[in-house]
Amino acid sequence: MIKDLGKYMIMFVVLVLVQVLILNNIQVSGLINPYIYILFILLLPFTIPGYFLLGFSFLIGITIDIFNNTPGIHAGATVLLGFLRPAIAELISSREILEKGNMPNMASLGFASFLKYTVIAVLIHHLFLFFAEAFSMGGFFETFFRYLISSVFSILIILGSQFIVFKN
């Protein structure tokens, strides 16, 4: 358990740094902003207690917020994702698989299930994020366009990272 805690702490730090120092600097005409730090929430074990799940979700959201000077926006989106994650997990696979202590990664879920899991999670998180950031329905279509394009890139990067880390 302690070993796992260390592993998740390293993952937390690495994902925050990759997000803040690298991905936040990749800007293609202001349209594409991939947010891949939610991979941390996605990879927490299925058996994690609810208060840890929500607590960690809030923690990584508020950390990204402080770096981005956007108090509350990322935290609100990650807490929503953390709250819906058990429901998403049930949606993508059967109860037996979840209770057998499987980890929510591509190696144990398989490509199709993990793809579904990532797509649903990214779409929920980014929807909250982009509309909370615009904070109005003013430029609805423009925001929606940015939302869709960024979601596609987040999904691609998250899936790609799984291929690199869990190759074997």
């Binding site: 740094l17 803040v20 120092l21 936040n24 800007q27 005409s29 202001g30 594409i32 902003n33 609810g50 208060y51 929500l54 979700s57 809030f58 959201g61 508020i62 917020d65 402080i66 770096f67 981005n68 000077n69 956007t70 108090p71 509350g72 926006i73 935290a75 609100g76 807490v79 929503l80 953390g82 709250f83 909370a132 950031e133 615009a134 904070f135 430029g139 423009e142």
Partner: protein, 276 residues
């Protein structure tokens, strides 16, 4: 009472979710005030240090570009100095007053974090209250206006970039001195909207837009950009002017922070006008 506790305990997942969302929304709404919770932004020393370390590595890649810009600025300043000296030799009586403190004081600083892809972009600088930074000081570089400082910690300061929809800069067209407000359009990192220019003014593509100096933050005449296109929406008396910003926000590295030393005096004087 006990049944309430039991209800809360049974639904703790939902309750905790609602509580955390409530905290997030409170933070989000308090963001509408410019004075944001001081420890929750990147002028915070810990987060500032992370950015500064990364900025140190990053700056080696742009050394030649930075050098070229400094050389160009040196040449431009030398030209102005030469012009001054020449004038002084011609009209020796017209000496500037050296006893009075200058109205604007400049300090150099380095940008350690900057974004261009959000709707509300912020800049973090590597100087804080220890170096004399205060909120409401202007940020500029040799290319033009960059932003305004809003929060200051001991070693770092953060501010709104021009690319922030909450930022409005009093601007004017140099050709005939008509003034308006420059607001970012939220679309592209090198264009912004110039508002409140009345319809009867003659506007051309390529006209220069500079600061008007009415905000007491920037001196008059700091470059903002040039007019890219304009049109008139039916039913309004004002132009819709697109300005191409002269500052390249993608390559921002070294900036000057400008302080108006007479600002408190001006604000005190101007506050007498309100209320009547």
């Amino acid at each position: 009472m006990r049944s309430l506790f039991r209800f809360l305990l049974r639904n703790y997942f939902l309750m905790m979710f609602l509580a955390l969302e409530a905290i997030s929304f409170t933070l989000m709404v308090s963001l509408n005030n410019y004075q944001r919770v001081a420890f929750l932004n990147s002028s915070n020393d810990l987060f500032g240090t992370v950015y500064e370390r990364f900025s140190h590595m990053d700056e080696y890649f742009s050394l030649s570009r930075t050098n070229a810009r400094l050389a160009a600025e040196n040449a431009s300043l030398r030209r102005q100095l030469h012009f001054r000296i020449q004038n002084q030799e011609k009209y020796p009586i017209n000496r500037p007053d050296t006893i009075e403190t200058p109205a604007y004081v400049f300090t150099s600083a380095k940008v350690i974090s900057n974004s261009t892809n959000k709707q509300f972009n912020y800049i973090t600088l590597n100087k804080g209250s220890r170096h004399g930074m205060k909120p409401d000081m202007g940020i500029m570089n040799s290319e033009g206006v960059v932003g305004v400082i809003t929060n200051v910690s001991l070693n770092y300061s953060t501010g709104l970039s021009v690319l922030n929809k909450r930022m409005s800069i009093p601007a004017k067209i140099t050709k005939d001195n008509y003034f308006g407000a420059l607001v970012w359009d939220g679309e592209h990192f090198n264009s912004a909207d110039l508002k409140e220019i009345p319809y009867h003014v003659i506007v051309n593509v390529g006209d220069t837009v500079v600061t008007s100096g009415y905000s007491n933050i920037f001196p008059e005449g700091i470059m903002i950009g040039t007019i890219k296109s304009f049109n008139v929406e039916s039913g309004t008396n004002f132009y819709n002017i697109k300005v191409e910003l002269s500052t390249n926000f993608k390559t921002l590295k070294y900036v000057e922070v400008v302080q108006n030393t007479k600002r408190t005096e001006l604000i005190k004087l101007e506050s007498n006008n309100t209320g009547e």
